[in-house]
Amino acid sequence: MSLFDNLAAGFAIALTPANLLFAFAGAFLGTLVGALPGIGSTSGVALLLPLTFGMNPTSAIIMLCGIYYGSMYGGTITSVLINTPGESATVVTTIDGYQMARQGRAGVALGVATGGSFVAGTFGTFALMLVAPTLARAALAFGPPEYFALTVLGLALLTGLTSGSPLKAFISAILGLIVATVGLDVMTGMPRFTFGLSDLFSGFDFLPISIALFGFTEILIGGGGTEQLAARLSIRDVFPSTRDWLQARWAIVRGTLIGFLIGTLPGAGATLASFMAYAAERRIAREPERFGRGAVEGVAAPESANNAAAAGALVPLLTLGLPGGTTTAVLAGALMMWGLRPGPTLFQDNPDFAWGLIASMYIGNVMLVLLNVLLIPVFVRALRVPYAILAPAILVLCVVGAFAANNRMWDVGVMIVFGVVGVGMRRLGYSAAAFITALVLGPLAENALRQSLQIAEGSPLVFVTRPIALGLLLAAALALAAPVFMRRSTAGAVSRETT
């Protein structure tokens, strides 16, 4: 089947009334999640995952992906209106977006962000559609050694590119891998670290832990919340002038390209993409001094970048089974929960799912534009819910969501314990993203490692004699070493300048 036949089949699935409804629900909830400070896309996907339990996997992932890219749109609203990013990928939008709001141009900022996000999201989905099947076909040649090397590369990129200490991110990944080993060993059936507790035989479910580390921890530390009231906006305010569009058009194009490319790199993510796009735009601007004072390009570039990156992040997930970031790690766990294995065989074994998802992303982007234009006044009103009321409701959602994972109170206990652990991790600079990614990739990595050594009769040379595996491992070593060298060279430059 050709690309367009596959896409047509995908649209036939995505355009069913039920899937349209789920795409709309995902886009709506995602925008709301993104707009509410303190609940990012990862927390939103983790918290709302239990709502998809009764659905078929295609409908469920359509809704969850809607939440994911919808949150990118929604995060802009709080960044622009109240200078509080609802989502880490929209942090940089506050710089010029809030300045525009102070100048009475909040509607223009939101309109340009919506337009840029639509262009970027649609381009990102188109590029995903072109790249993913080809990459998946190439990855079909992978055996256990390549898979092991690939998971190592994924973890190395995530720990190497983390904003905090790479060593602490590495430790977080080790902890995630250790937690992933709990339960019955899949190859021998032998219990590991279960201490006679039958609840531990099946290991730790990833859902209560992801709810704990992202939703519960966020509320425990009081990360969200602002008493500032948002400005009143009407639908009319959200239409920028032709002059604004002309000023923003190349920023949207550049942001889209930068965002998609960065989004495809495991570990980079939408936040880095938005910062890179903003920095690039400022660097090439004729009047860089306008940035930080309400430049429309300063909103258009990062907003386009974060949406393109959200689509780009699905490339390594769907083709290689590698989550590119925290939200895609939760999505990967969700796919596994439904018995789908993200990776090269996904397009072959579950074409309905893969193409239905891609088609739904086109539809979701259109829905998001309509939602953002029509419902911005409603979202602005939602921002007025006091944090003291919102936070307990999220706490309750965490408890019930953790219970609903397996209908047992054990998971609520797990959620509470890991929530407290998450507070400690956050305060001490350990990476929850590296932990959850390792938890999801752990079983895959361990099985691939053991199978590789079994094939090679115990010889670790199997990873050196296979060129793809060797290349991936070298790339992983580079990803781990690069931040250390970069810091040293930066420190060296600073000391030379000061002496």
């Binding site: 408890v399 206990g413 115990g458």
Partner: protein
């Protein structure tokens, strides 16, 4: 001792514990790695890395993590409330427990809004019941 160093000690102890537990599992079975293979190396690696953090924390300034949250809620109070709510579930059921949790947490975060707290206390369990019990059919205890 800095918080960083105390955390490193706890992690190192955990690494040693994992190594000791993994030591009891078969390391090699039928010419392939056994169930103890990966946990053993992870335990050793964790111990070494935690030791490294301990040493570095001593050598450098005792600076805490940069992303120190500046929130206003007390994490331990909210965690204890959630634990208590989970503990009373067998007695009163999950829906009622969520009402109690909402009331306690909302009051703890901002006691100046009694009407909003009452409304949230009634609305949250009702929504939980509607969404999870009626819509999704989750058998809540």
């Amino acid at each position: 001792m800095t918080t960083d160093r105390r955390a490193a000690l706890v992690l190192a102890a955990f690494g040693i514990f994992i190594t000791a537990q993994a030591w009891r599992l078969p390391y090699w079975l039928d010419r392939s790695p056994g169930p103890g293979f990966v946990p053993l190396w992870l335990g050793i690696l964790l111990t070494i890395c935690a030791g490294w953090v301990f040493v570095r924390a001593k050598a450098t300034a005792p600076r805490e993590a940069e992303d120190q949250p500046t929130g206003r809620s007390d994490p331990y109070a909210l965690a204890i409330m959630t634990t208590l709510a989970a503990a009373v579930v067998p007695l009163v059921g999950l829906v009622a427990a969520t009402g109690a949790l909402t009331a306690a947490a909302a009051w703890r975060l901002d006691p100046r809004r009694p009407l909003a707290i009452v409304a949230a206390t009634l609305a949250t369990p009702l929504l939980v019941w509607l969404v999870f019990v009626r819509w999704l059919g989750v058998p809540l205890p």
